[in-house]
């Protein structure tokens, strides 16, 4: 089913829903095709092909609301499905805030090419896919004789979706993605099996990094882990490498959300317009980034995308408020989630920042942990390297970093010049002062 056909089906479903008694309806129809290959010992360990369809029908009737998803897109099945969905919705409580967005908010939808769809997707052959996975494995294996486990990956997918609202919104999307990576475990000679991985996702096949990229990085990092140990608890300076999991950025997202604000469940409640973070922190949400992994022209509510500054030099400029919670809070909607998140960059690289570190920990990965949206308290496990006088001294693990996000993001003293581009969170390396680590 192409997007034109999906659009027809979505409109038909909207009509059905209204026919069965819904006041308003929103319908999303999506399909995707994905291929995944895993290679081990020069053999394909896993070959998976997946083609899937779905329709989600959101019913609005006198303030009552339900969302209903099915993967059976035959019209006779759908008709029954929608009829039941409408009937079911009538049991729910009447919520005066629940409706489709006022149609005036749909205005301003751009028609730009976001560079997220590789039209030559169909030209990638089955042999090419397998060859990439195999070549990554071969390349990685040749890098050290310490390898005890090695799996390489290749995957790609093509995605299409349409959205139709009964009060006038219509949108379509098409995108592709290509990923490759490797995961490697080595022996440390003492029964330990340090491991590391490398994984890259891009929108165009031609943009996949060369074969040698993955193994080079993963093996080097795994070898660096040999002899890792925890060190004494205390306050240390911390550098978070750009590609480390964005645990501490993620901890900001919950408290920024309209739902948590409205539910009195956010430590950032009442802080709009205030300087709550370091003036080194400027965060911009950019939905129009060419080739961005989260680029889009409209959001889940059908509101047109807009580039926006969320934090400017430490001042909280905007919350993430979707249509429903904007009604509940009595404010204008801003968009309920972020897309490509970018930062105001500094001038120095990771290496230069490490050189100036007297005593601290370079964090290269996070493991587990969580944060509390209500209070801002957080605690995460870390993997990294102890640094003294600008030199990497030894690998550390089995330690936690803890604090409160308000305080933590105020202790940011430098932002690097190196955004990590293989993610929608394009964070650079960052330097923080006096962070509480727990170890021995």
């Amino acid at each position: 089913m192409n997007n034109k056909e999906k659009l027809e089906l979505a409109k038909w479903a909207v009509t059905q829903a209204k026919g069965f008694g819904a006041d308003e309806a929103a319908v999303d129809v999506a399909n995707s095709r994905e291929i995944e290959i895993e290679c081990r010992d020069q053999k394909i360990d896993k070959l998976q092909e997946a083609t899937q369809n779905s329709m989600t029908v959101r019913i609005y009737t006198k303030g009552r609301y339900s969302g209903n998803t099915t993967n059976d897109l035959r019209k006779d099945s759908l008709s029954k499905f929608i009829e039941e969905a409408v009937a079911m919705t009538k049991y729910l409580g009447e919520d005066p805030y629940r409706s489709l967005p006022d149609s005036k908010y749909y205005a301003g939808l751009k028609d730009a090419d976001l560079g997220i769809c590789d039209n030559s997707y169909d030209e990638v052959s089955a042999d090419q896919r397998v060859k990439i996975a195999r070549d990554i494995e071969t390349d990685t294996r040749e890098r050290t004789d310490k390898i005890v486990s090695l799996t390489s990956y290749y995957g790609d997918g093509t995605y299409e979706s349409v959205k139709v609202h009964s009060n006038g919104f219509e949108g379509t999307r098409r995108s592709t993605s290509f990923s490759a990576g490797v995961e490697v475990g080595i022996t440390d000679g003492k029964g330990g099996r340090p491991s590391w991985w490398d994984w890259r996702t891009v929108r165009f096949f031609k943009d996949l990094p060369p074969i040698s990229t993955y193994g080079e990085f993963a093996v080097e990092r795994a070898l660096d882990r040999i002899g890792q140990t925890k060190i004494e608890s205390g306050a240390y300076d911390m550098i978070i490498e750009n590609r480390a999991r964005a645990s501490l950025l993620g901890a900001l997202e919950g408290p920024l959300s309209g739902r948590n604000l409205q539910q009195k469940n956010s430590c950032l409640d009442g802080k709009l317009g205030q300087k709550v973070f370091s003036d080194k922190l400027t965060v911009v949400d950019d939905p129009f980034m060419k080739g961005g992994l989260a680029s889009r022209l409209y959001d889940d509510d059908g509101l047109p995308s807009r580039k926006r500054t969320i934090i400017e030099k430490g001042v909280l400029k905007e919350y993430l408020i979707d249509w429903y919670y904007s009604r509940k809070l009595g404010v204008e909607p801003t968009g309920g989630d972020t897309t490509n998140v970018t930062f105001e960059l500094g001038t120095r690289s990771l290496d230069e920042m490490v050189k100036d570190m007297k005593k601290g920990i370079l964090v290269t990965g996070f493991i587990g942990g969580n944060s509390n949206d209500t209070t801002g308290d957080f605690s995460f496990g870390i993997i990294g390297t102890y640094v003294e006088d600008g030199k990497l001294i030894k690998p550390v693990n089995e330690m936690n970093v803890s604090g409160n996000i308000l305080q933590f993001w105020s202790s940011l003293v430098e932002v690097g010049n190196d955004p990590y581009t293989y993610s929608s969170l394009q964070r650079p390396t960052m330097y923080f002062k006096d962070v509480q680590f727990s170890g021995v």
Partner: protein, 510 residues
């Protein structure tokens, strides 16, 4: 056929219906109340619109390039969630999923494909795609299909197909009213109810055919309270493989009381100094430590691939002689239980550690064959969209020789860890974490001040050896959690008796 005519129709029929709640407004449907567990193989054949001949044709296509084995996994699942916010039951979500997954195995290699359209043509096409993994001249013909009888671990009294929406809403209101009434400091409450029903029909080329009906429900009560400008949030949940009978007045009462108690307690919580310390794990939920510290490392795929730190430790002592850890998929009505795994193998109580010795991995079909052992019934998949992989079910430690009182009394300065949210493990290095939502400090052998929001981190094999005291008060949390692995989610539970770990690194929020 009963169970509301097996959700009304089959694949060949008009609708894959769908939203069980509505059946109550269908006057005809409302007249019948089908008994649970009454569907037979023919009902499943009818429902999925297949028969033995069609299945054999699909198998022949799957094995045409010479695979060793294939299986065909039909699934119809229906899930519903209903939410209460700001004192109003004001949102409901329903999902219907229907399809068939076809797997071909040659040696350790897997080809997988699925289709959402259960017609012979679509299934044969998917089978041919999966067949591409194989490349050998010989061709193992599928064996005669024989129905395999499985256990009946989750007989429900009132299955979700028979439960009207109007029966659930008042229960959510009751929970909410209770949460709000228990303490004047409670300012808000959110309640989430979910129910799920999964119908599975599985046929394997080695001649087994099984069917299973899997109910599930869980309700989560979140409480937000305020005291002198300070806000705290916590939650509690109940759940398992139940129908509506789970929601007794007693269970509703416990759910609300626990959610409030856990939240209000946090007002007394003070920041604590972190670092290595003695940690006493409360019975029940703290079993997440076992799940992360040893469970994942014992899943055979990680060992077959050489990733796990436990890969060369079978038969060796890994813990004190009073430590025994099992994975048990057979506890009636528990969230992690399954009558039969997603490869048609019976579930078992499997000892990972027996009397301190590492005993066996958790296997799926491929790893059992690789290691030349019997399957343990741990081959699970999230849905027909995924190939099965070894997964835990209900993982817990057996009772030990100590008592809770003597364990707490033995700690001079440490942490009593009571409730948790999430955990994670790095399989190779064995580092694992779990996040403490609430607990208490232990000072001079007594529980004192509440603590909260700290991460605990340790190394799997290391922590196993440091389990120095185990009490006789085993609890396994029935409502459990959801475990993510390889992009797939599976319902699991864990548990343990009160257990002392002599040293573990606790995050500091001082």
């Amino acid at each position: 056929m009963t169970r509301r005519e097996f959700v009304k129709t089959g694949a060949k029929g008009v609708a894959l219906v769908s939203l069980p709640f509505i059946f109550k407004v269908d006057p005809l449907a409302a007249l019948t109340t089908p008994p649970a567990g009454s569907l037979n193989l023919n009902d499943y054949y009818t429902h999925f619109g297949v028969d033995e001949a069609i299945i054999k044709q699909v198998m022949a296509a799957a094995l045409e390039k010479g695979g060793d084995y294939c299986d065909i996994f039909f699934e119809h699942s229906i899930s519903n969630s209903i939410g209460l916010e700001d004192n109003l039951v004001n949102r409901a979500y329903s999902t219907v999923d229907f399809g068939v997954g076809i797997r071909v195995v040659e040696g350790d290699q897997t080809g997988y494909s699925f289709t959402e359209e259960i017609t012979p043509e679509a299934m044969k096409l998917a089978a041919k795609t999966a067949a591409n993994i194989a490349n050998q001249a010989k061709n193992a013909p599928p064996k005669e299909l024989v129905l395999h009888d499985s256990k009946d671990l989750y007989p429900v009294e009132q299955s979700w197909e028979d439960v009207g929406f109007d029966e659930i809403i008042p229960k959510l209101q009751q929970i909410n009213d209770k949460v709000l009434s228990l303490d004047p400091r409670v300012v808000n409450s959110q309640i989430w109810f979910t129910s799920g029903t999964q119908y599975v029909l599985l046929a394997t080329s080695d001649g087994r055919i099984v069917c299973d009906y899997r109910p599930m429900s869980r309700t989560f009560a979140q409480c937000i309270a305020e005291q002198e400008g300070r806000r705290e949030e916590n939650y509690h949940m109940i759940g398992g493989r139940f129908g509506l009978e789970l929601y007794t007045p007693e269970n509703i009462d416990t759910l609300a009381k626990e959610a409030v108690r856990r939240t209000i307690d946090l007002f007394q919580a003070v920041p604590m100094a972190g670092g290595e310390m003695e940690v006493v794990l409360a019975p029940g939920k703290a079993g997440i430590l076992l799940h992360e510290a040893i469970g994942h490392g014992m899943e055979a795929d990680y060992n077959r691939k050489g990733e796990s730190i436990f890969a060369d430790k079978i038969g060796k002592p890994v813990a004190q002689p009073f430590v025994s850890i099992v994975d048990d998929g057979t506890i009636p009505s528990y969230r992690g239980s399954i009558n039969i795994d997603d490869e048609g193998n019976d579930t078992h109580k499997t000892y990972l550690v027996r009397d301190g010795i590492l005993e066996t991995y958790l296997h799926d079909y491929i790893s059992a064959k690789h290691y030349g052992v019997k399957p343990t019934g741990n081959g699970r998949r999230q849905s027909f969209r995924y190939m099965p992989i070894p997964r835990m079910t209900n993982t817990y430690m057996l009772n030990g020789p100590h008592t809770k009182e003597e364990i707490i009394a033995s700690v001079k300065k440490g942490l009593y860890a009571e409730s948790f949210t999430n955990g994670e493990v790095n399989i190779g290095p064995g580092d694992f974490t779990f996040y403490l939502k609430s607990g208490y400090m232990i000072e001079d052998g007594k529980l004192t001040t509440p603590v909260k929001d700290v991460n605990l981190i340790g190394n799997g094999p290391d922590v196993l050896t440091k389990m120095v005291m185990v009490a006789n008060d085993l609890e396994v949390e029935q409502s459990g959690g959801t475990c993510g692995k390889g992009g797939q989610w599976a319902p699991v539970t864990d548990g343990l008796p009160t257990t002392k770990v002599s040293s573990i690194t606790v995050g500091s929020n001082a």
